[in-house]
């Protein structure tokens, strides 16, 4: 029951065991646990950062979408306007062309009519001369009455 030299042996063993526990158990494990703690903290920080980035990206995407919508609406409106313009232009051009054609045709008709009138006039002169010849029974000198006839023709 009394204390013996065993005490010395146990003390030495105790000190050695403390050294071993520190070297083999406490040191590596606390180091590992600290590393794990750091890793977890890093992971959480990264997750936070990721969430933040995601929020930003979502915001930017929303903005972009909004802008794209606006742009497309504008483009559409512009296109519509342009279409109307083009249609109007085409209408105008068609109208002008039509008018031009009509005018051309009218001019041609007029020309034709004039020409026909001239022809008719000339023929009438001839006929009138012929009729007068017949009536008078003699040949009228075309030269002598030319001026008179021409005046007549012009009156018709």
């Amino acid at each position: 029951m009394n204390i013996t030299a065993t005490l010395l042996g146990q003390m030495i063993a105790f000190v050695l065991l403390i050294w071993f526990v520190n070297k083999l158990l406490w040191g590596p494990l606390t180091g590992m646990m600290a590393e794990r703690q750091k890793r977890i903290a890093d992971g959480l920080a990264a997750a936070d950062r990721g969430r933040h980035d995601l929020e930003l990206a979502e915001k930017r995407a929303k903005e972009l979408l909004h802008k794209a919508k606006n742009d497309s609406a504008e483009v559409l409106a512009q296109a519509e306007r342009r279409a109307v313009e083009i249609v109007e232009e085409a209408k105008g051009a068609a109208r002008a062309e039509g008018e031009r054609l009509v005018a051309g045709a009218r001019a041609e008709i007029e020309q034709e009519a004039n020409r026909t009138r001239e022809k008719l006039r000339a023929e009438m002169v001839t006929l009138a001369v012929a009729g007068a010849e017949k009536v008078l029974g003699r040949e009228i000198d075309a030269k002598a009455h030319g001026d008179l006839l021409n005046q007549l023709v012009k009156q018709i």
Binding site: A5, T6, Q10, A13, F20, V21, L24, L25, W26
Partner: protein, 281 residues
């Protein structure tokens, strides 16, 4: 269950005495196997405690080789939980920072717990097995040997003195003895009081652990006696043996608490004492 009483000639007192005798080498009485001088070695205490220490070292080494940071499994989880627990105790009770305290506390907790745990091995089993090899005295629980408990507490005491002097300085340490409880007009009283206070630390540490474990061992022995010497004849055996089993189981479960608690108390008190040594007055 009780091979020992027969081999030692029977008798309750002899049975218990036999079980409380260490395997002594050196300055020992050849008849009673008690130590007669300081230079006696309790081989059983040394062998068991060294084996348990080696077990701790081996387990630590094996664990340290395949530590997993991200996915710890089984054993590593248990060790980590103990480490966290001990580390928490050190953080709570120890002011300042000293890298020695936590490994010391962990060592005390693990080693004392394992040595205490030997108390839960059936009292007659190791004696019986070793008796077959001609070893007739073997006290399995190292913490029922005062040499072990005082080895621990004196080491802690040495650290207390060392850190007291280191932190307070030799003069400060001396001043603590001279002026501590009552001021400068009661120097002789102060010296005695402080000396008692300081000596009481290792003494209470060592005796508390020894007392608890020794008493526990004794109760186990008494319970073992129920089926051993009290049971006479088949009828008596039929009555006493179930009683012994029931009592043994009850005490075992209770003692599981005691050994953990004692290891814990030894650890916490060591931390607190060393914390006190680190405080400057």
């Amino acid at each position: 269950m009780s091979a020992a009483p027969e081999s030692s000639g029977g008798g309750t007192v002899e049975y218990i005495q036999h079980h409380l005798t260490n395997l002594c080498v050196g300055q020992c009485d050849p008849v009673t196997h008690k130590a007669t001088g300081f230079w006696a070695w309790h081989l059983d205490t040394l062998i068991v405690s060294f084996t348990l220490a080696a077990l701790i070292i081996l387990a630590s080494w094996r664990l340290g080789r395949r530590l997993q940071t991200s996915a710890p499994s089984g054993f590593q989880n248990v060790v980590e939980a103990i480490l966290e627990f001990v580390g928490g105790q050190v953080r709570d009770s120890f002011p300042g920072h000293n890298p020695l305290i936590a490994p010391l506390a962990l060592t005390i907790f693990l080693w004392v717990f394992l040595m205490n745990f030997m108390d839960l091995i059936p009292v007659d089993l190791p004696g019986f097995i070793l008796g077959l090899f001609g070893v007739h005295y073997f006290k399995l629980v190292p913490t029922t040997d005062l040499s072990t408990t005082f080895a621990l507490s004196l080491t802690v005491f040495a650290l207390i003195v060392f850190y007291s002097i280191k932190v307070k300085g030799p003069v400060g340490y001396l001043k603590m003895f001279l002026f501590h409880p009552f001021g400068k007009f009661f120097i002789p009283v102060n010296v005695v009081m402080t000396a008692i206070e300081e000596v009481a630390k290792p003494l209470s540490l060592g005796l508390r652990l020894f007392g608890n474990l020794f008493a526990g061992e004794l109760v186990f022995l008494l319970i073992a006696l129920i089926g051993g010497t009290l049971a006479v004849g088949a009828v008596g055996w039929l009555f006493w043996f179930p009683l012994q089993v029931t009592l043994d189981l009850g005490w075992l479960i209770f003692h599981l608490l005691v050994i953990t608690l004692q290891a814990f108390i030894f650890m916490v008190l060591s931390i607190v004492y060393l914390g006190m040594a680190h405080q400057e007055h």
